[in-house]
């Protein structure tokens, strides 16, 4: 279970406050969607949960299964079960995707005090996962994300999530830049990972993604806070009426 309480966050130099007393609870097995206009702090929230160093936490706490994430480095949070699918995945030239996957998987199992994967087991798991997402073997030998199309990068994020088996998967605008076919593949990939002990935080601008990844709860975010929470029908309402009501609510 992920619990965020009264979270206040500013950009590191203190110049701008982005999150203003955000509260959010995501239960095990729950898929929560966060929607909101540009600049409402959605991406910041995902970075802060994952432990990006550019932010100053002014107040509040983030607990994953009772453990305080804010006291951990980003790699320790990953080992504890946090996975962030990036909106813009980074390229690492000269490091074969396969090499990167293995390094990440082994680093996490070491951090959890588990033994390293045997190479044949690793190969089997990667091959299987890649096939499901329509990722050709040849891509796994190329430098990580180097020369990949937008859709390929997003599929690679989902493959990494499948292999790292997090307890919470955060998808930061995973639908951006995807055509409808890629969107379907990526959504199927995510749906296949849904389980009773894994939760998801799906960040998106558009309701379209939520037709494929159907959320249990929908939260509207504005000016660094959750201003409305509802079921999946809330997404349809937002699609029809826009964010104007909620944005002005806060202002008032």
């Amino acid at each position: 279970m992920l619990e965020i309480r009264n979270l206040h966050v500013a950009i590191e130099d203190g110049s701008k406050k982005i999150l203003n007393g955000l509260d959010l609870t995501i239960h095990n097995g729950e898929v929560a969607a966060i929607m909101g206009p540009n600049g409402s702090g959605k991406s910041t929230l995902s970075y802060v949960i994952a432990g990006k160093p550019d932010y100053e936490i002014l107040d509040g706490e983030i607990l994953l299964d009772g453990e305080n994430l804010l006291e951990m480095e980003a790699d320790a949070r990953a080992a504890a079960g946090v996975f962030l699918a990036f909106q813009y995945p980074l390229e690492i030239a000269g490091v074969a995707t396969m090499t990167f996957l293995k390094a990440a998987m082994n680093a996490q199992s070491r951090a959890r005090g588990e033994g390293e994967l045997k190479t044949p087991d690793f190969m089997r798991r990667v091959k299987l996962g890649a096939e499901k997402l329509g990722i050709p073997q040849e891509m796994l030998r190329r430098g990580l994300n180097v020369g990949f199309s937008g859709g390929e990068k997003k599929r690679m994020e989902i493959l990494q999530m499948a292999l790292l088996e997090p307890s919470i998967g955060i998808l930061d605008e995973t639908d951006s830049g995807l055509d409808i076919d890629a969107l379907k593949i990526v959504s199927e990939g995510v749906n296949a990972l849904r389980s009773a002990d894994r939760s998801f935080l799906v960040i998106t601008h558009y309701q379209r993604l939520l037709n494929y990844i159907v959320p249990d709860t929908v939260h509207v975010m504005s000016k660094g806070r959750i201003v409305k929470t509802g079921g999946k029908e809330l997404a349809l309402e937002l699609e029809a009426n826009g964010y104007a009501d909620y944005v002005s609510d806060v202002a008032a």
């Binding site: 994952a50 432990g51 990006k52 160093p53 550019d54 480095e73 980003a74 790699d75 949070r77 990953a78 080992a79 946090v82 996975f83 962030l84 990036f86 995945p89 980074l90 690492i92 030239a93 000269g94 490091v95 090499t99 990167f100 293995k102 390094a103 990440a104 998987m105 082994n106 680093a107 996490q108 070491r110 951090a111 390293e116 430098g143 990494q160 790292l164």
Partner: protein, 489 residues
């Protein structure tokens, strides 16, 4: 990613002391009096039992050196060197010229064992190494042992110390010594001609493919002692040899001078592949101590269709001044230079290559990867020139620099000169930083800061590591990560 894991474990073992070869060995030594003079040159020559022609060659070099000025064009800064404040000869006293390993001082064998260089052939054969490597071990000013000599002799290959070659093969030494790097070439090379103490000599006869890798391991042990080694490798028509060079030194507060000269000659259709992993003591984090590495390395592709390939991994030394070069004299000859230069702390590196195209259809390729961290300065300096007769000369140069942190510098200084209209030179250069975004991405996937840096750096240097012989590549990869330890976080 086994290598990354090993690297991290190795780094942990090292604790605060990152330079693991910093130990010194207590030995009784035979030293020349401190300082430099004609008498010292005579002393060295006499110690080596050299013939008169060699002494005359040395004295001539010494007299020329006195008239020369230390070059100052490199992007390195250091206090003026007092050449009289150094010892020019130091040799372990016991069994100065051992005939077999049993006569070598056990303390020296132990030192090499600590360095991971097995010198006993049975140990090498019994070890896990799959391929045999013959080693010439140079300790301060003398070669202490050369392994697998007998087996090489059967193939007609001569592999011995240069001192021995001067006595046993004077006709070859006289013919080739100084024929690639002339006595008057440059300040440090000329000094080397006067006072060189030992080094390796390799002769591969016509048509012979050397049956194993040859390797020299240089170790500076004594305090205040310069090391001036001299290596000469000759590959006759149609022959091939792969040669590896490694070096370390104890951790000492004062700077030590290392001024080597390496000469390579390839005749028609011959090939020499020369690989170096340079790991001299780099000095401490504040720049105290460390080796001044002023080295002249040059290969002469004398014959048609011959090839010389330099691969270097430079991680050590306080100051590196080194430009392994190729003279592409024979038609269709080829020169290659693959380099990884890592600098951290206060290290200063000014390194690169020269590709001198003289013959027709000569080709050269330069791949240089500079990695700077800490407060270090890392300069690539390269010259590519085509002579009037070098029709269809081709060069491809790629220099990439990677910066880690905010206080280091990377510089690229290419010199291109063409006197033949048909020559084509290509030059590519990039400078990049390990971005915080990249670091965060890796760490979000569970990699520690060290693991993430090692992974990104390994990716950056991959093209060059691939050029190294297998065992060396693994070693080099570890070494690079260790050199960069403490540069992040």
């Amino acid at each position: 990613m086994v290598a990354v894991k090993e690297t991290v474990e190795q780094v942990k073992e090292l604790d605060v002391d990152q330079y693991k070869y910093g130990f010194s060995t207590d030995l009784e030594v035979d030293k020349a009096p401190k300082g430099l003079s004609e008498d010292i040159v005579r002393f060295i020559s006499a110690k080596k039992g050299e013939p008169d022609w060699m002494l005359e060659w040395r004295l001539d070099a010494y007299r020329r050196w006195l008239t020369m000025v230390e070059p100052d064009w490199a992007r390195v800064h250091y206090p003026k060197i007092d050449f009289n404040d150094s010892y020019y000869y130091a040799a372990p006293k016991k069994n100065a010229a051992p005939k077999t390993l049993d006569e070598v001082d056990p303390a020296i064998l132990d030192a090499y064992k600590k360095l991971g260089i097995p010198l006993r052939e049975q140990e090498i054969l019994a070890g896990v190494q799959t391929s045999k490597v013959a080693v010439d071990a140079v300790f301060d000013s003398v070669s202490v042992v050369t392994t697998f000599k007998e087996e090489l002799k059967k193939a007609g290959v001569i592999f011995c110390s240069i001192s021995e070659a001067i006595k046993e093969h004077p006709e070859l030494v006289r013919k080739y010594l100084g024929s690639v790097v002339p006595v008057t070439d440059n300040y440090y090379a000329t000094l080397n001609c006067a006072v060189f103490t030992d080094g390796s000599f390799v002769y591969i006869p016509e048509g012979v493919r050397c049956p194993m890798e040859l390797s020299t391991y240089f170790r500076i042990n004594e305090k205040n002692t310069g090391q001036f080694e001299r290596t000469l490798i000759i590959a006759e028509k149609g022959s091939y040899v792969s040669y590896l060079e490694g070096c370390t030194a104890p951790q000492r507060d004062e700077n030590q001078l290392h001024a080597a000269v390496v000469e390579l000659v390839t005749m028609d259709d011959a090939e020499i592949k020369y690989s170096t992993v340079q790991n001299w003591y780099p000095g401490d984090a504040d720049g105290k101590g460390g080796i001044y590495n002023f080295v002249t390395k040059r290969g002469d592709c004398r014959g048609a269709n011959s090839k010389i390939s330099w691969t270097q991994v430079e991680t050590g030394s306080a100051i590196t001044w080194k430009y392994p070069s190729c003279i592409l004299r024979g038609d269709n000859s080829r020169g290659e230079f693959y380099s990884i230069a890592v600098s951290n702390g206060m290290q200063q590196v000014d390194s690169g290559t020269k590709m001198i195209h003289l013959g027709k259809n000569t080709t050269s390729r330069i791949i240089s990867k500079g990695i700077s961290a800490g407060r270090s300065q890392n300069t690539y300096r390269g010259q590519v020139s085509a002579h009037r007769k070098a029709t269809n000369a081709r060069n491809f140069t790629n220099c990439d620099s990677l910066l880690i942190g905010e206080q280091c510098g990377a510089h690229t200084v290419p010199y291109l000169e063409s006197k033949n209209a048909s020559a084509v030179f290509e030059h590519e250069a990039t400078t990049s930083k390990i971005s915080e975004e990249q670091m965060f991405y890796c760490r979000q996937r569970g990699l520690s800061a060290e693991e993430a840096t090692a992974l990104i750096v390994n990716g950056f240097v991959k093209d060059v590591l691939q050029q190294l012989p297998m065992e060396f590549a693994v070693e080099a990869q570890k070494l690079i990560s260790i050199s960069l330890e403490g540069s992040v976080g």
